[in-house]
Symmetry: C2
């Protein structure tokens, strides 16, 4: 039996596009001699469809799409297609997260997800009723009836190594093994985060080895709003070894010959920092394309954050070649907006970056606008001393300029803030936070530097200017400002933030790990009091295990 894993990149709710992707996979798999094609979880709707599910007509249209797909299996391989089924039971949630088996032009049957993640970015209990039992389906392959164990994503994640260890009362893989499955199939939409890939393969390989059954994992690829799906679909033999792996961060079709697992292709998975880069490039490209934009606009400060954001945008819109050699990147527009406090090197570094990356570059000076707004506001300030107000005014003029260019030319504005500053509120709401997509808002500052060094290394040239990499970080919103006047050194800050945000540790626990108590309490206070800013932040691409966004739901008017 030959099985093809169809690692496709769907657009949420775009049934035509998503079906076309699956049809193409079926046809390609047919030419490659596949007996069965497996699509990712909810491949028809794209994952996650969120409250589109509640819209009248949405689920009907998705079922109609599955029906139409069946025809394409008439003279080719069977297909397992992820879709939303109606729950026919009289009681319970309206829908099921389901797989349809299409074969010989017919809709042969369906199977449902048992374990419904409802934590972090996941809300599946909001929509779906779980399967009562996991399902072994007999699929007729060349006259043999093969008992296949069907699972969907979380069905494998009842692991004993994470917080999920205690979530679930059931083990679907065990149920399927007990019911005689000769292979376990898992259709997934498993989002990327740093380091997750290795854990995921370990977890899945563990299931295969424990049951002595081969396991196949078909994952979604692509960016859908904040979530990045890394693909890397793979196959495990009955000893739990990876015997096949599809590409990471791009579409792929992986053929696995169950009778000779040694024949399959094993694509490498990128190293940690490179995986973050590829994820951000993919997420940026997909957000731009799926929202229907052609160009992006970025405010350039000469600093590391805007430089890395611009380089990601250039690769997203013009391909990797635009990084490895100087060429033209006309779909990316950079704007330097020097103020009275900007140093010479900031404009110079922005210029160098634009030259290195070949993108459209322009300068809009702030001074005239800044003076005009000052002259109108000063009479209202009652002679109070200058403070954060004056700094924010400049940042918000910049926001207005970027948005004006965005409105006039239809360019998507990319904001450039990193996770460290968004955590402690070292950013201006409606100022540098303006934008449709916050490309690196889940990347800690120390990792932004790593990304910059790594892209220069891989590109074998100075993509990010060396002077940008080496200078002292500054917002340049007042004379002689630099970040470490307001914040602890970034290596300390990022370590404390990791403990507080990703690990959910309290102050005492963090101090116990050796950090200075005053620093820890100050950082935590700043994180807590800036929920209101993050409430209004642009969508940010998730790369860590806990990002700001839909996976972290904090009250604003609160105290703890």
């Amino acid at each position: 039996m030959n099985i093809a894993l169809a690692q496709v990149n769907p657009v949420i709710g775009d049934f035509d596009h998503n079906c076309r992707k699956i049809v193409e996979s079926i046809e390609k798999a047919n030419r490659a001699g596949a007996d069965l094609v497996i699509s990712p979880e909810l491949a028809i709707t794209g994952y996650p469809p969120k409250d589109l599910l509640l819209k009248s007509g949405f689920v009907d249209a998705n079922i109609q799409a599955v029906r139409a797909l069946a025809a394409y299996t008439k003279n080719g391989p069977a297909a397992l297609v992820g879709f939303v089924a109606r729950n026919e039971a009289p009681v319970g949630r309206l829908f099921r997260n389901a797989l349809a088996l299409l074969q010989n032009g017919q809709w042969m049957g369906e199977s449902y997800k048992s374990l419904l993640p409802t934590y972090d970015v996941f809300d599946e209990h909001r929509y779906f009723e779980p399967a009562e039992t996991a399902n072994v389906v007999e699929i007729d392959i060349g006259g043999r009836r093969i008992p296949v164990g069907l699972t969907i994503c979380e069905d494998l994640w009842n692991d004993e190594h994470t917080f999920r260890r205690r979530l679930y009362h059931r083990n679907p893989v065990q149920e399927l093994a007990d019911a005689g499955a000769s292979v376990i199939i898992n259709a997934s939409a498993s989002p990327f985060s740093v380091g997750k890939h290795a854990f995921r393969e370990q977890l899945m390989g563990g299931h295969a080895a424990e049951q002595s059954i081969p396991l196949l994992f078909a994952n979604q690829v692509g960016g859908n709003d904040e979530l990045l799906f890394d693909g890397a679909s793979c196959a495990f033999d009955a000893n739990g070894n990876v015997v096949a792996r599809a590409k990471a961060f791009e579409e792929d079709l992986l053929l696995v010959k169950m009778d000779d697992l040694r024949e399959a292709r094993i694509e490498p998975y990128p190293q940690t920092i490179e995986s973050v880069w590829h994820g951000l490039v993919m997420g940026t490209r997909d957000y731009i394309n799926k929202c229907g934009f052609n160009d992006v606009v970025i405010g350039l400060s000469g600093g590391i954050d805007s430089a890395v954001t611009a380089a990601i945008a250039v690769e997203a819109l013009h391909g990797n070649a635009a990084l490895t050699a100087k060429c033209s990147s006309p779909r990316v527009h950079g704007v330097a907006m020097p103020s009275r406090y900007s140093s010479d090197h900031s404009v110079r570094d922005a210029e160098t970056l634009a030259r290195n990356l070949g993108f459209d570059y322009r300068v809009v000076p702030l001074e005239k606008i800044h003076s005009a707004i000052e002259s109108e506001l000063t009479p209202h300030f009652e002679n109070r001393p200058a403070d954060i107000t004056e700094e924010n005014i400049q940042a918000r003029i910049r926001g207005n300029i970027i948005m004006a260019l965005s409105n006039k030319f239809g360019w998507l504005p990319l904001s450039t803030g990193n996770k460290s500053e968004l955590s402690v509120g070292y950013c201006t709401l409606y100022g540098d936070m303006c934008g449709g997509l916050a490309v690196i808002s889940d990347v800690p500052k120390t990792m932004v530097y790593e990304l910059a060094r790594d892209v220069n290394r891989r590109s074998k040239r100075e993509v990010i200017p060396n002077s940008t990499l080496t200078k002292i970080p500054s917002a340049e919103l007042r004379p002689d400002q630099h970040d470490q006047q307001s914040l602890p050194p970034y290596d300390v800050l990022d370590a404390v933030l990791h403990e507080y945000i990703e690990e959910e540790k309290c102050a005492a626990d963090i101090v116990a790990r050796g950090f200075d108590e005053a620093v820890v309490r100050d950082v935590i206070r700043k994180v807590d009091r800036n929920e209101y800013k993050r409430k209004q932040a642009a969508t940010g691409l998730k790369v860590t295990s806990r990002a700001f966004g839909i996976g972290r739901r904090m009250p604003i008017a609160a105290k703890f």
Copy 2:
């Protein structure tokens, strides 16, 4: 047996404040001769605590707080206190939504919620494990052991009249009746929406009548971010009639003598439009206070939206007396920011409003700033014709001015957009959308007018200027602009939006109700393409059955 319903207004995560409220209720109930005091759902943490639950130390602190409360029941009534229990079972979610029974200074027992809402604004499966069965607790009152049936909020909402009709496999009230309960207690945090109160009492009265058992409902009151809790705790006799009701939209302690239900107080619940007003005033006041602000700042256009927002703010900060008679409202600051396109009447109407309501008023003209930004940007616009860009530039200058005053003086900025314009994107991101709280962003434009007329009627004077009420709505961002150049008449728009957003109807269904197809398709297209603006909107107070915010989760890069 005398039971007191302690309708308190907690602050999320502020254990000291919340315990003090409960202690005060216990002491007051003791003086009134109560045997038992009932707090609302999760009264210790405030509802909803959201992901604060996941923070290390939060749940421990809440259990510690319950322990400390027990002492206050030593020489007084018993108390049922809403809190978060740890789930002691080895498998399942970490927590339980629970009630603790405190009596004679001891923690006597606890009881858990059975039905966990996971739809709209609710995420309870994210945190809680449901009770396996509903719990009858025997409470010793003056030597008699009274079998009391304990339920928490949603446990009553397995009704047959709404979408929930099919959600739940269990009926906790039936279970409790079967187990011999002589009274049903319901501790709730039931958020307000227009018209819900009547339905809620009908639902609860139905349970009481069906089981022929009296039912007592203790509800949270107050605003927590977007959610407004209206209180109106009440008691039903065994025929399902309301025999006692606490005040709506303010704290109260309601004593119910179970041996003579006729003795209780029945507060009136306000009429529909007045209930919206009170909800908005309460929500605005609570957001200001719970976030630690003293003053607010509002941009005034002379139009109806900013006028109603200002009047709500004045009542929130200075009480209803500030509406019924002219007096001084120094904690509210209004700013008129006329542009070259502003009509004379807009500044005049803003001035009149400020005089009527006695708040601080100032004028910051836009022209100088507007000219300066134009002169810098025009060279970049490549002689393209004026469009929405030029309109947004003005709105964003206004945003910068409001935020500067907010930053300089620590005033909370209130944004003034209504639901109709937020739905179709007739508003400027980072412009008029700037603000910490969007007071009327869930109020359709036609209801904004109703609110204005109603407040003038109730105040027996012209709070909202008549000229503001009667003039043609305009954003005044280009010459001779008015809203109906871009939008259908508001009565049509609001009706279509209601069908699409609150009723989740599709275009065909809405057209079938008699609306013009071109209008319907245009409105739907505008709603869909403006998800990105709403993603970055300020927290808005929820008054309809479906608001933008946490209860409506739409993908942005999507197509349907």
